[in-house]
């Protein structure tokens, strides 16, 4: 079953992933000198640190994460934003790019609006605060938002953003990838559809090798298909 070409071996919770001398990283735990997997995922080892990259799971906010959120509620001086995590995330008016009068939050963001923002802080009981003070933070208008598993986000972004850049370049779409698994795409309908397909491909094939090439091929083929018999 395992060890198919192009497939990284999967570890299952409770499986030993390293002996003594190795440090347990995210997705693992240690017990009596041994390191075990805590999550279903792919084992990686670097500099004596064993980690398990989960295949599935919820998004847990961390300080500095860029996320795409949907405004779900407003108070007199803050907005409550759904960032696809188990914790409610308020965005305080002082953290927004506007000068908001007390009680006037609805003028700037309404329930249902989608924003690109950052996680300002997460404390030990996981109280989250958001900020829009970064330059790229803004209200997103137009385009579409798709959701993928948050564990697949690093693959969609790629090394130093190589994968998103590739998709952006080949499809001429504007793309924001939130760490919370929400992705905002904007471009022509056809381009957006192709980009969305490419992202789904990455999500499904996240554990495979040679992903970049597969994505490039998919996009190029899709673009040719739609262009060939078209009117232009």
């Amino acid at each position: 079953m395992q060890g198919t070409e192009g497939l990284r071996p999967i570890v299952i919770p409770g499986e030993a992933v390293g002996g003594p001398g190795l440090k347990p990283g995210p997705g693992t735990y240690s017990e009596s000198g041994q390191v075990f997997a805590a999550q279903l995922g792919i084992r990686t080892e670097r500099d004596g640190l064993v980690t398990v990259i989960p295949l599935n799971g919820r998004y847990l906010p961390e300080r500095g994460d860029a996320v795409i959120g949907e405004v779900v509620d407003l108070g007199p001086s803050h907005w409550l934003v759904d960032i696809n995590s188990p914790y409610p995330a308020p965005l305080h008016a002082t953290e927004s790019p506007w000068r908001v009068e007390f009680g006037d939050t609805a003028r700037y963001l309404k329930a249902g609006d989608v924003i690109m923002c950052h996680v300002l802080s997460v404390d030990e009981i996981k109280r989250v605060q958001l900020t829009m003070s970064e330059r790229e933070a803004r209200r997103l208008t137009g385009g579409m938002v798709m959701e993928i598993s948050p564990t697949k986000v690093p693959r969609v972004i790629g090394k130093q953003g190589s994968m998103v850049s590739l998709i952006k370049e080949l499809t001429h779409c504007q793309i924001y990838v939130g760490q919370n698994g929400r992705i905002w795409l904007d471009g022509t309908d056809r381009d957006t559809a192709i980009a969305a397909r490419a992202i789904r491909l990455i999500e499904e094939r996240a554990q495979a090798f040679g992903l970049t090439e597969a994505v490039r091929e998919l996009i190029e083929r899709a673009r040719q298909e739609t262009r060939g018999p078209g009117p232009s």
Binding site: M1, Q2, T4, G6, L7, I10, I12, P13, G14, E15, G27, Y29, E31, F36, A38, Q39, L40, G41, P54, L55, N56, G57, R58, L60, P86, Y87, P88, E124, I125, K126, T151, R197, R200, L201, E204, R205, Q207, A208, A214, L218
Partner: protein, 279 residues
Amino acid sequence: MEDIEHIQKEMKLIDGKGRRLDGRKPDELRPVRIEAGVLRRADGSAYMEWGGNKVLAAVYGPREAHPRHLQDPARALVQCRYNMAPFSVTDRKRPGPDRRSVEISKVISEAFSSVVFKEQFPRTSVDIFIEVLQADAGTRCAGLTAASVALADAGVPMRDLVASCASGKIDGVVCLDLNKDEDNFGDADCPMAVIPRTGEIVLLQMDGHLTYDEFQKAMSLSLGAAQRLYELQRDALRRRYAVTLQDILKESPPAPMVAGPAESEPELPAEDDFGSEGI
């Protein structure tokens, strides 16, 4: 209705050759099949067939715990709902929670509480739903075993999977994994759930009486079975993630595919999934 007193005297649960009603040996499991990731909307899910039992498990979370006053600022809640479908038994079961299912929900959620890393998700809850579609004794063990696959499928951090199997006493013989008739007409039933890696016991109940020696025997049978179930659980999870690679270019596959049963059947040659008793 038949006269149950009368049947009990007639019923030979173990024949002269030491075989049980469905032809099993005392230490033999019923055929088990586990499938992971069968539901689209849940974060994690599993389906299990265990002899005549058919059980579906779904896991959500960690997610915001509701109602708010239940939230624990230090750790996650592990909540479980065990429910039997009205059509899961011969006489229609009245829908809704009853004394029995509330108890089972409680013991199962406590069993999982001890393996999930709750401290990583303060103020949240991990919700486990176990639906028994068809019951044939041992549903709490089947539910627990399936739910543990569903938890792993949902990516919830945990120390290990939990495997569970009952043992009991029928006609004075300690046997593994009782079926409906053996449970009804036997002398004792003792469900048990363990963390297979360490052998820790996370659920232990007993209905009926066993002597100390019989209990020791039952326990060793259940522990052995748990190891076998553990392998099936792990296999189900591996298969689940092997599938995603084979149908790569499909955009969004339609309704859950019926993945071929493959070699998911365990070591037992089963003449019929429902056993000889027929539901």
